[in-house]
């Protein structure tokens, strides 16, 4: 277990700078999620921590040791890949233990570690199988097992759940969180899925075009997004940004005002913004209503329970004023 310190790290491919000077502290034992859209540099940053990409400028420290130019296997990190990256010709047990064998570990100690990892991940009955005989979830567990046996200081996950179906993804999210609680290790997790970020992280790092937009606890980012980008990225469905010359009277001139779908109420009789229902999505426990308002443009409203509104009908939307997010010059000013 160790902290990770990223100091003025830059990554350039030729003349193209994909990660401009970036500073970040990942606390010891934390579950830090790097989240952002495709191409924002999150995987590049993770691969620089792993040593799979060179660092153009700056330094990376793990547990206080400068590992910027250390070989990947000597950094004390283990990585779980999106594609699992299991050795197809080896059994599950060999996949998990082969790195230890190469490191010269004795057979009995190696088998002990493999058994321990298999117990944690419930892989015991599968140890003799080849990767092609496993389901996606089982393969992902083997990949995690391969990371666990090395007892790394830092676990790195590169979109490990992207290849799984929705149900399995939800299950693996819980399993990974439980694994983190059990091992107490520092984990750095890359995803483009804000639901994964919100449900698993103690600390979320939102990246955009190589820059860090905001770092903080999930609920902090949800309640007090520092920039419109974070406000739009964190939360599902996305935050509504009000259109029009002055959509909220008390807001400063030229301010961008956001309100989350769950912070708007709908009424048939009266309210702040009359709006026409465009489409209704019934999700069971809640309903998403998409509306068009002449006052503030298009809105998405999340309503608890069922709402039997027809497309074309007029409803009145009213925001909770204390939940408005106001941004000027790309920065949050109040809520």
């Amino acid at each position: 277990m160790a902290d990770v310190l990223i100091q003025s790290v830059t990554k350039r491919y030729g003349t193209v700078e994909v990660v401009p000077s970036l500073n970040l502290e990942i606390p010891e034992g934390s579950f830090t999620v790097l989240v952002g859209p495709s191409g924002c540099g999150k995987s590049t940053l993770l691969r620089m921590i792993a040593g799979l990409e060179t660092v153009s400028d700056g330094k990376i420290f793990i547990g206080g040791t400068d590992i910027t130019h250390t070989a990947p296997s000597q950094r004390g990190v283990a990585m779980v890949f999106q594609s699992y990256a299991l050795y197809p010709h080896m059994s599950v047990a060999e996949n998990i233990g082969f790195g230890l064998r190469l490191a010269g570990m004795g057979k009995s100690e190696m088998e002990g570690r493999v058994r321990e990892a298999a117990d944690i991940l419930q892989l015991g009955p599968l140890l003799d199988r080849k990767p092609k005989q496993l389901s996606g979830g089982q393969r992902q567990r083997v990949a995690i097992g391969r990371a666990i046996v090395r007892k790394p200081k830092v676990f790195l996950f590169d979109e490990p759940l992207s290849n799984l179906d929705a149900a399995l993804r939800a299950q693996m999210r819980v399993e990974l969180s439980e694994l983190h609680e059990r091992l107490g290790s520092t984990m750095v997790y890359v995803t483009h899925d804000q639901v994964e970020a919100m449900t698993m992280a103690d600390q979320i790092v939102v990246l955009n075009k190589g820059h860090i937009e905001q770092v903080g606890a999930p609920m902090h980012l949800y309640n007090a997004p520092a920039t419109p980008f974070v406000a739009g990225f964190i939360g599902s469905p996305k935050m509504n940004f009000l259109q029009g010359p002055k959509p909220w009277a008390s807001a400063p001139q030229g301010a961008l005002i956001g309100i989350r779908p769950e912070h708007i109420t709908l009424s048939q009789t009266g309210g702040q913004w009359p709006a026409t229902v465009r489409h209704v999505e019934h999700l069971g426990g809640e309903t998403l209503v998409h509306l068009d308002s002449e006052c503030v443009g298009s809105l998405t409203v999340k309503v608890t329970g069922d709402l039997s509104a027809q497309a074309g009908t007029t409803l009145h939307a009213s925001p909770r004023p204390e939940m408005l997010h106001v941004f000027t010059d790309g920065q949050r000013v109040s809520a």
């Binding site: 594609s83 990256a85 050795y87 197809p88 010709h89 190469l102």
Partner: protein
């Protein structure tokens, strides 16, 4: 009405049958003549349908060929086997290593090296034999196994096939190995090589055929039966002014072809998988 041939398949079927006959007829003729002990009958019927139906069937030609002290068949076969197997083992090891360096290594200009290697496929082997012969003479290697093995080791086609295969192995696999502490050689030995069974089979079959049937180079560098291969020994049937013993020649040819057919049957599943995958996967 039930169609035996679905629409549009009759002509391709007939074409395939014609091609198959073109390949099979000489082979059948070789076998039937080898089983005919009557040299006079062979000469009379050669070129006609009658040559496919010998009047008497016997293995006498085979016994003659295998036991002729002037032409020690099994010695020649052992020589051929030694040269072929040694070339295959060394060649597959060295060519796969070369291809791995080009495919997964980070040496500057390695793709240029590959281009150069592939370009050598266009150079006819015959144009190289004279300088090679002079070199072999200077090194004192003439009439040895080594001189027959050396030129077959570096094989551009084999390097190219290995390169294509190694380039398609997902990068993640090697990166995971790097994190596991594999050295570059260990990545080759423990990941790339075990995965390349289909391409090893393809390369082995192609090079086995090339080495087993090699004639020009062995005839130039071998002098006596100690190291002479089967092909050169068979050629000796035609080098005298005496009447050609066709029964013996065909029995010799069949005996020589059997190991090739067995080797192909042994490797064919992997070979076909390799050929199929090179066509299907991008």
């Amino acid at each position: 009405m039930i169609r035996i041939f679905p629409r549009g398949t009759l002509m391709p079927f007939l074409f395939a049958c014609t091609v198959a006959l073109g390949v099979l007829l000489p082979l059948m003729m070789m076998v039937t003549i080898s089983l005919n002990p009557d040299e006079q009958d062979i000469l009379v019927s050669m070129g006609s349908l009658k040559s496919f139906i010998p009047e008497t069937v016997s293995f006498q030609n085979y016994i003659d060929v295998w036991t002729d002290p002037a032409r020690p068949f099994f010695r020649y076969m052992m020589n051929t086997a030694i040269v072929t197997v040694a070339t295959l083992l060394i060649s597959i090891t060295i060519n796969s290593m070369a291809a791995f360096v080009v495919a997964q290594g980070s040496l500057p200009g390695n793709k240029m090296v590959l281009l150069f290697v592939v370009a050598t496929i266009a150079v006819p082997a015959e144009s190289l034999v004279l300088p090679q012969l002079i070199l072999a003479g200077k090194l004192g290697l003439v009439d040895t196994y080594v001189v027959q093995i050396l030129p077959g080791i570096a094989n551009a086609l084999s390097i190219f096939l290995f390169f294509q295969f190694f380039s398609r192995i997902p990068k993640d696999l090697f990166e995971a190995a790097e994190l596991d502490g594999f050295s570059f050689f260990q990545k080759y030995r423990h990941i790339a090589l075990p995965l390349s069974k289909p391409v090893i089979s393809a390369v082995a079959i192609l090079q086995f055929l090339e080495m087993w049937n090699a004639y020009l180079w062995p005839v130039m560098v071998t002098r006596g039966p100690e190291v002479r291969p089967l092909t050169v020994a068979m050629g000796a049937f035609f080098g005298t002014n005496q009447r050609i013993p066709w029964g013996d020649v065909m029995a010799f040819a069949v005996s020589m072809a059997v190991p090739v057919i067995l080797f192909f049957l042994l490797m064919q599943r992997q070979f076909i998988a390799s050929v199929m995958s090179s066509g299907v996967k991008g």
